[in-house]
């Protein structure tokens, strides 16, 4: 062979997954039909908080097709553990017992009161109306600040408070820095976990400050809205003790453990399969009461049980994302150099703790300093129970919140000092580095070159002409004003070093497993513990394995998402898959080559040190004609009749990779908006994103991740937001009024990349799944505020709907003429504002 071996990594080869997905051959959970299968449907609470005073399912049992109906009391012995929460963020954290079906009190709209099992979904749904249930409605807690007030109704009365936890990280004296005597601060408070540390003398920094920015930002609740809602089929494993559950999840391996903990069924009697999964965005990084119930009912009834939620249930009962009130203070000198930062968060838990609810904000805590280097940092986070749907991870999970806060504050600082927003960012960037470097919170950033990314974005945007156009429009008093918004971000990916995860309060287990097997026919099986649900791991892992093994991606089959096929794994979330799971594949494939060299040396009668491997062939150094292909080596390994002395047969290598550090992708985004000052409508004219996720395995997949992430980030900034009324009723209960933008609302993105390898792994890869949702929201809001800043507008909460923008303009004009107008009719949706929804 003279032809140079093809390299697949770095090529945008078409996704292996797509032909099945686009021709309707995907194996969605709802497509699974088993003999004797019955359907379960939940009776859900219409009240945010109420005592259940009467509950009788007997009339439902009489309905056609109904097989069974149960109350919480009927099944309570089946879930000794309740629905488990895996996170303990402080020793005092209050973790309520979370029953799959309640027995006394409902705590959010959509809470489960009873379950009906019937021959089909329609019969089950119709039968729900025949369950007799009486509620005694109680006052609900819908607003975090009210929840913490003396005398507030309590979500969990036995705790005596709605405070779930208070987490602080602070060293030094941030308070003096800000010179605020009204705020005693947390000087000397205990530092929890090695990852988040306040550093430096923050008090001192704030005392020295020439400028102090003090702002409040709201992270509204968001609905993750995977296109495939949750679905599960559980059945007794034929011929075995135990149960199989097919479920639309990101985390089959975690589900196996959690279902065991919840039900007491031994872990080795549970097999979890994630078939094709139609998106998750964090919402399927959870083990839900319905999944536990499906297993419990399969056990009780001895037959397959299916659960499929509809969209309204999805919006009421699948986790929500975000939900923070952020008080942010930034101290800087007159050159715009940041001296210190103080952050106080209220984080909305909702009514119960799901798998990771309390740790979401904490996992973003150390990211508030963003891409800026300074000395003093402190943070306090209070988790608050409300009578709303539980929150948990949503694409970005903690980092979009952090990024938004610092990036919005940077713009305010620039405005205060009358500096260009790009310039103030440059003044605070780290000098480029490629060895781990501590951030103000003690996190070790892996490698940065923000300057290159920002320079490229500025060039692509043609920044100076944009400012020119903006000036012209301002001078002409154009009703449509131009806004230019920056965001320079970093995110923490590659979850994560096990010891660091332990420090965060989630035990550990940040490793990932891969097995690479050469089959006797020369084909390759890669078994990965990651669990893709749209990310294209089958393609990317094939590219990695193909390059290491000298085969083609078509020779490689990637197995995933089945605890029976891949016994160990930590699944897919937190942009971890490539930087941890992909690296495990890389290492396992290299182990195959190492063993292959020994076998080849034996076959070629040469010394092992003399064997070279390239392009799928083992050859003797200096005499390339003396060679043997990897397929033949695999055959020899499989047959095992002529191997080196003492060698185990088969080429089947497993690697468990526990990364030494996280990875920190970064980038620079510029959002160009046109704001119609007469209607409040915001149009994104251009969106430039220069992202650095290290070397790229498949550029098409990376661009796809960015497109989707940017769409969701723009959605948070301009469109989406959960709205509850004062009683805790979910008003955005369907896609009609929950504002997911579509293609017509979104711009054509201008994407580019810089490449700064990570020292955290041998491929230098960083991760890209959440870049868009992290970078975009502040870029968009900064742009809208930039457009309107001549009117004196300093902030508009997300989502910046036309009405909000118009209101801000009205208020600004009122202020200018000295007579501030309040729109009385806005009062109706004030609850939405209060707890972070739309208004």
């Amino acid at each position: 062979m003279t032809q140079a071996p093809e390299r697949y990594m770095g090529n945008g080869i078409p996704r292996k997954e797509d032909p099945n997905l686009v021709t309707g051959k995907a194996n969605w959970t709802d497509n699974i039909k088993l003999p004797g299968m019955v359907h379960m449907t939940m009776l859900r609470s219409p009240f945010a908080r109420a005592k259940v005073t009467k509950l009788d399912v007997s009339a439902a049992l009489e309905r056609p097709g109904v097989v069974a109906a149960f109350t919480g009391a009927d099944l309570a012995e089946e879930w000794p553990g309740g629905v488990p929460c895996a996170a303990v963020v402080t020793e005092e954290q209050k973790t309520p017992f979370f029953p799959p079906i309640v027995t006394d009190e409902v705590r959010h709209v959509g809470d489960v009161v009873a379950v009906v099992v019937a021959s089909d979904r329609y019969a089950a749904q119709d039968a729900l109306e025949f369950i007799e249930v009486d509620y005694e409605p109680l006052p609900a807690v819908v607003n975090m600040e009210d929840a913490l007030k003396e005398g507030s109704p309590l979500v969990h009365e036995d705790f005596g408070t709605n405070e779930c936890f208070t987490y602080t990280a602070n060293v030094g004296n941030t308070d003096e820095l800000f010179d605020r005597t009204d705020d005693p601060g947390d000087a000397g408070a205990e530092i929890r976990g090695p990852e988040v540390q306040g550093q430096g003398d923050t008090d001192e920094a704030f005392r020295r400050a020439n400028v102090v920015i003090k702002e409040r930002y709201i992270q509204q609740r968001l609905l993750p809205t995977a296109i495939e809602p949750r679905a599960s089929v559980a059945y007794p494993d034929p011929g075995h003790d135990g149960y199989v559950i097919y479920t639309s999840t990101q985390v089959p391996h975690l589900a196996k453990i959690v279902i065991s903990l919840a039900t007491g069924i031994p872990e080795n009697q549970i097999r979890v399969v994630a078939p094709d999964v139609g998106g998750g965005f964090g919402s399927k990084l959870n083990i839900y009461r319905e999944e536990i119930l499906a297993v419990v009912l399969a056990k009780r009834l001895g037959t397959p049980v299916k659960f499929v939620e509809d969209r309204s249930e999805n919006y009421q009962a699948t986790i929500h994302g975000r939900g923070q009130i952020q008080d942010v203070e930034l101290a800087a000198d007159s050159d715009g150099k940041i001296l210190g930062m103080r952050v106080k968060l209220l984080d909305d838990m909702g009514a119960y703790l799901q798998l990771l609810t309390p740790v979401i904000a904490i996992s973003g805590a150390a990211m508030f300093p963003g891409v800026y280097t300074f000395d003093a940092f402190s943070i306090e986070i209070k988790g608050v129970f409300t009578n709303l749907t539980p929150t948990d991870a949503y694409r970005g999970a903690g980092r979009p919140e952090a990024c938004y806060a610092i990036e919005r504050a940077m713009d305010s600082l620039a405005r205060e000092l009358d500096m260009d927003p790009a310039e103030i960012r440059r003044r605070n960037f780290y000098e480029p580095f490629d060895e781990p470097t501590a951030n103000p919170a003690g996190l070790m950033y892996d490698s940065f070159n923000l300057q290159a990314a920002l320079d490229r974005a500025v060039e692509l945007a043609d920044y100076q002409s944009l400012r020119e156009e903006q000036r012209r429009r301002r001078e002409a008093n154009d009703p449509v004003q131009l806004g230019i918004g920056f965001s320079t971000y970093t995110e923490i990916c590659g979850l994560g070093p096990s010891h660091a995860l332990a420090g965060l309060g989630i035990g550990g287990g940040g490793w990932e497993v891969a097995s690479v097997r050469m089959l006797v026919t020369g084909k390759v099986e890669v078994a990965t513990g990651t669990s893709p649900h749209g990310q294209g791991h089958e393609t990317s892992w094939s590219q990695i394995a193909a390059d290491v093994l000298g085969v083609t991606p078509d020779d490689v089959e990637v197995l995933h998402g089945d605890t029976g096929t891949v016994p160990f794994g930590r699944d897919t979330y937190g942009s971890r898959s490539l930087a941890v799971g992909g690296i495990a594949v890389y290492h396992a494939a290299n182990k195959v080559i190492e063993k292959g060299k020994k076998i080849a040396a034996h076959m070629l009668e040469a010394a092992e040190e003399d064997i070279e491997f390239e392009g799928g062939k083992f050859s003797v150094a200096g005499s390339p004609d003396q060679n043997v292909g990897i397929g033949d080596v695999a055959g020899a390994a499989y047959l095992g009749n002529d191997l080196p002395e003492g060698m185990e047969p088969t080429l089947n290598e497993t690697m468990t990779f526990d990364p030494p550090n996280f990875t920190f992708p970064f980038g620079a985004h510029i959002c160009v908006t046109e704001v119609d000052t007469e209607t409040g409508a915001v149009k994104i004219r251009d969106y430039i994103a220069v992202d650095d996720c290290g070397p790229v395995i498949n550029p098409t997949i990376v661009d796809g991740q960015l497109h989707g992430g940017l769409a969701q980030g723009i959605a948070q900034a301009l469109y989406e937001g959960v709205i509850y009324d004062e009683e805790g009723n979910l008003l955005t209960a369907s896609m009609v009024n929950y504002m997911i933008p579509g293609a017509p609302e979104l711009p054509n993105y201008t994407l580019d990349r810089t490449v700064t390898p990570s020292p955290s792994n041998p491929l230098g890869v960083k991760g890209v799944g959440e870049a868009g949702t992290i970078g975009a929201p502040p870029a968009v809001i900064n742009s809208v505020v930039d457009a309107l800043s001549p009117m004196g507008i300093r902030h508009i909460d997300m989502p910046a709907s036309p009405m909000r923008v118009w209101k801000a303009i009205q208020n600004a004009q009122g202020l200018q003429s000295g007579d501030r107008q309040e729109d009385a009719s806005l009062g109706a949706s004030a609850a939405g504002i209060k707890q972070g929804g739309d208004a």
Partner: protein
């Protein structure tokens, strides 16, 4: 999002549909494109026990030249109107607006008769037909009658339709050369219902405005004519548009919801009335 159980009947003709309505009584409903009815059934806000499908009545799917007007069959799909040449030539506002209803799949299923009969004042077509001063032909057990759009829409989701009646045809005037039109729709997302919509049909005469007919979407329980603006513009110079539009919200009764407060709707009605009339004058 699962409807109650229901029976399904296919109407072979308009008379058959009327018979079926008689047989099944008040719990039966006509099914046209299903794009308003099925969603509310899925939310269990409506639970008819029988659906009578008009979907196969090809004889109600047409656009005909009626001399001074266009006659449009009730089962004509939005998408048919979007690409119809007669509509394009004589009453462009109908085709243009059809292209703004939801998205292509909605336009392929939904019908003109359906969207008018549904009587939702946030629908776009009710205002357009109102601004055009169109007429509906309605057939029932007692035979056929004609009703003006202004009288057809009675209250929120309430029309002049009797229990056993079927809308068969909609008539809109052919617009004379020199008559401009515009439909301005403001919504959060392109496929959403109008937060506010403004339909304007403006006759020009010798450089000034002869007459203007303006109807508003989502500004009350029915489509509402912006009578004060129409009056102010009658015989007025085009320079008067901005000021006249300031009274666009007079006599309206908009509601407050997530998309807009009543106050914001009033403001939008003023802005878009001006924009619609100006666009109509330029067309």
């Amino acid at each position: 999002m699962i409807p109650m159980a229901f029976d399904y009947e296919v109407a072979e003709s308009v008379d058959h549909a009327i018979d079926l309505l008689g047989q099944h009584g008040e719990d039966s409903k006509l099914l046209a494109g299903g794009h308003s009815l099925i969603p509310i059934m899925r939310l269990r806000l409506a639970a008819p026990t029988v659906l009578i499908d008009l979907g196969r009545l090809e004889e109600l799917r047409y656009v005909r030249d009626g001399g001074d007007h266009l006659a449009i069959g009730a089962m004509t799909r939005h998408r048919d109107l979007l690409f119809n040449d007669l509509v394009k030539e004589h009453c462009g506002i109908v085709g243009w607006t059809a292209g703004l209803l939801g998205d292509p799949s909605v336009q392929h299923r939904g019908t003109l008769g359906g969207t008018l009969s549904h009587g939702d004042s946030s629908g776009d077509m009710p205002s357009v037909i109102t601004a055009l001063e169109g007429e509906l032909t309605i057939k029932g057990p007692q035979g056929e009658r004609t009703v003006e759009a202004a009288d057809f829409f009675q209250d929120y989701m309430m029309t002049d339709l009797g229990e056993q009646e079927v809308v068969t045809e909609i008539r809109v005037p052919k617009l004379a050369p020199g008559t401009g039109w515009s439909y301005k729709k403001f919504s959060r997302r392109s496929q959403d219902w109008a937060t506010v919509g403004v339909a304007a049909v403006v006759e020009r005469s010798n450089g000034s405005i002869g007459s203007a007919r303006i109807a508003l979407t989502s500004m009350g329980a029915t489509p509402i004519r912006a009578a004060a603006v129409e009056q102010a513009l009658s015989g007025a110079s085009p320079d008067a548009v901005a000021e006249a539009s300031q009274s666009a919200d007079e006599g309206t009764n908009p509601s407050s919801d997530d998309a807009a407060s009543a106050e914001f709707r009033r403001h939008l009605a003023r802005v878009f009335t001006q924009r619609a009339v100006e666009e109509a004058l330029g067309r």
